[in-house]
């Protein structure tokens, strides 16, 4: 329990750092931050509306510390300002529209890549110097060297454009009505194959190597030899004795990989015009929509922090040593 509270405290601190960074970035810019931030609004808004917007961001003439607390208050209430690109929609509303797709894309890619990569790692370590061990790691290292979004472009070109096996973009087609029906789910699945597939292929290698290396050292332990000597089936020795204990570094790495894979999948979204945060982000960058950009950064950071906390829960469950050391 104390361990979890400590982790929770850490994530709160990280969230605070992200929010504070968000507050200071526009103010660190050369020149008058308010003018620069709202230059894009000129012509769209009257002076009163501009003043109201400044108020929202805390960009007033008040002392910095007052501005800061105004900003914190707004963020806590979920008020992230107004989007420029999607004027006059509030940033939070714009973001929440795409959040589901991003979590779906990055989440399913991460979980699939973790499972497949880890199983391959088990196989590589178990049949060491065998076929899997010899050929798969270099192959995944080569594929992993390509930028995710470039693999996505190639996949889109070959399987979408040339062969026409999969749709060229978006999360679902116009023909189906969103909802819980077979047609829609099937359509979403068909649209997700290429974006998810390319991220999975690109990230497999990391899981494979981590698992393989830990598993190799675990296989040399006495308890594995004992399990073998007892005459347990190889399957049981490999999975229940060795793999289970070798899993821990991979689970710990899961939290670290989250942010990384999310970054990659944001770029993948752009290639497939997938309606998630990445797509919004590029809109924000191109139209210099700073409020939206910062909002996306904040929401993504919070999502990653939350997911990390879940990873902590899992490793607590997996590793009794953490439980014992703190209780």
């Amino acid at each position: 329990m104390r361990y979890l509270l400590k982790r929770l405290g850490f994530y709160l601190l990280a969230a605070w750092v992200a929010v504070t960074l968000n507050f200071f970035l526009p103010r660190l810019m050369p020149g008058d931050p308010a003018t620069a931030l709202f230059a894009r609004f000129r012509g769209m808004l009257g002076p009163e509306a501009l003043d109201a917007l400044r108020e929202t961001f805390g960009l007033t003439d008040a002392p910095l510390i007052v501005q800061y607390f105004t900003y914190l208050g707004h963020v806590l209430k979920g008020d992230l300002g107004i989007s420029v690109a999607y004027f006059p929609a509030p940033v939070l509303e714009v973001i929440s529209g795409g959040l589901v797709w991003t979590i779906f894309l990055a989440g399913s890619a991460l979980i699939m890549s973790f499972i497949i990569g880890t199983l391959l790692g088990v196989a590589a370590a178990w049949w060491r110097f065998g076929k899997v061990d010899t050929f798969v790691p270099p192959a995944t290292a080569l594929i992993g060297a390509f930028p995710y979004f470039w693999l996505a472009m190639v996949a889109l070109y070959i399987f979408g454009f040339k062969l026409g096996w999969f749709p060229l973009g978006h999360a679902y087609s116009d023909r189906v009505t969103p909802g819980f029906n077979a047609a829609f789910i099937g359509d979403v699945f068909r649209h997700a194959v290429m974006p998810v597939g390319t991220v999975v292929i690109a990230t497999l290698g990391g899981w494979l190597l981590t698992m393989r290396n830990t598993m190799v050292s675990v296989l040399g332990r006495d308890y594995v030899n004992l399990a073998r000597a007892k005459g347990l089936s190889p399957r049981k020795v490999a999975l229940r004795y060795a793999a289970r204990n070798a899993l821990l570094p991979s689970v710990t790495g899961f939290g670290m990989a989250l942010g990384f894979v999310l970054g990659g999948s944001l770029l993948t979204e752009i290639v497939f015009s997938y309606p998630g945060q990445g797509y919004l982000l590029v809109q924000a960058v191109r139209s210099q929509d700073y409020p939206l950009m910062q909002g996306i950064f904040l929401v993504i950071t919070l999502a990653v922090l939350g997911a990390n906390f879940i990873v902590d829960l899992v490793s607590l469950w997996l590793d009794p040593r953490i439980r014992d050391s703190v209780s």
Binding site: A18, L142, A145, W150, V154, L156, F161, M256, V285, I300
Partner: protein, 319 residues
């Protein structure tokens, strides 16, 4: 002085020697040398990459070996000229992230206590905040260009190195040779720079290589988003324009395929070089390979025994 110089030379030649003897490392080194030469001399042989030389979106031909872009520029010229900036940013960021990581990580690990607590908290926070979105938000506020890119890549990338180097410093901190140096009255600065850091050389080298791989990939990603200087010629902006000109939907594969291949080859070459170094600096990995070859040579099935190091560096089993 001359003694130190001599040791440095033999150290370097030992690395070069080791690369020559490891197939993977030699392969990786070959790729990297090729691209570095391309970056240095290549631009002398191709024309101006921004010049409009032909009809847009022409497939590869004798005139334009890799075809033309959506604007009618030569793809090969863009690729070659782009190599220079992209590699330069990649290698510099790789060096800087390790430098920053070493300062913070080693300080935290060596001094421990409250210093460690504060610094560890700092890099752990930076590790958990997703790097790419952070880099994007910062880059968007700064004037676009190579300096901005390098800056945001360092901000988003140093923490991992700090964490690893802190752990490694902690491992060395309690060794006898550090205790001996302390008893001998050496200053903290000297202990860190001449006792601890030299023992981490292989780790530092592999971190610089890893940092470079990260920097090249992330840089291409940011530029692809349009956060670089889109009028400059780099690998990332090449891909940005390919996407912008709808290269995919017109079937112009030659506008994006070569650049991605170049990025991947450099990344793969660096990774190969790194895994070769692993075996050079970790005698156990090297011996394992030798031990296996030894057993196979005698017609035995290699088991899972660990070879041990003998003074003459021949592999001998622990059986």
């Amino acid at each position: 002085m001359s003694k130190a110089a001599a040791r440095g030379a033999s150290g370097l030649s030992a690395w070069v020697d080791a690369v020559k003897h490891d197939k993977r490392a030699a392969f990786g080194a070959g790729i990297i040398v090729f691209f570095v030469l391309l970056a240095v001399f290549g631009p002398l042989f191709v024309g101006d990459p921004t010049e409009l030389v032909g009809i847009p979106m022409q497939p590869p031909s004798a005139d334009h070996w890799l075809g033309t872009t959506g604007q009618g520029q030569d793809v090969l010229a863009q690729l070659v000229v782009g190599t220079r900036t992209s590699l330069l940013i990649g290698f510099s960021v790789g060096l800087i992230v390790v430098f920053v990581g070493a300062i913070i990580g080693v300080t935290a690990g060596y001094f421990g206590g409250r210093v460690d607590a504060v610094l560890s908290l700092l890099f752990n926070v930076f590790l958990v905040i997703p790097g790419l979105p952070l880099a994007i938000v910062i880059a968007a506020y700064l004037p676009s260009g190579p300096l901005t890119l390098a800056f945001v890549l360092v901000i988003a990338g140093w923490a991992w190195n700090a964490r690893v180097l802190r752990a490694q410093t902690l491992a060395h901190r309690n060794r006898d040779f550090v205790a001996a140096a302390e008893v001998a009255g050496e200053s903290s600065w000297r202990i860190v720079t001449s006792e601890i850091l030299p023992n981490m050389t292989s780790l530092l080298v592999s971190q610089v290589i890893g940092g470079t791989v990260y920097a090249i990939g992330a840089q291409v990603g940011l530029e692809f988003l349009g956060l670089g200087d889109v009028s400059a010629t780099t690998w990332g902006t090449n891909l940005y324009w390919a996407q912008n000109d709808s290269a995919l939907l017109t079937g112009a594969w030659w506008t994006f395929a070569p650049t991605g291949l170049a990025v991947a080859l450099v990344g793969f070459g660096l990774t190969m070089l790194n895994s070769g170094f692993d075996e050079i600096t970790n005698p156990r990995l090297r011996l394992e390979r030798a031990w296996r070859a030894f057993l196979l040579g005698r017609g035995h099935e290699p088991g899972r025994s660990t070879p041990v190091v003998r003074e003459n560096e021949k592999a001998v089993g622990n059986a």
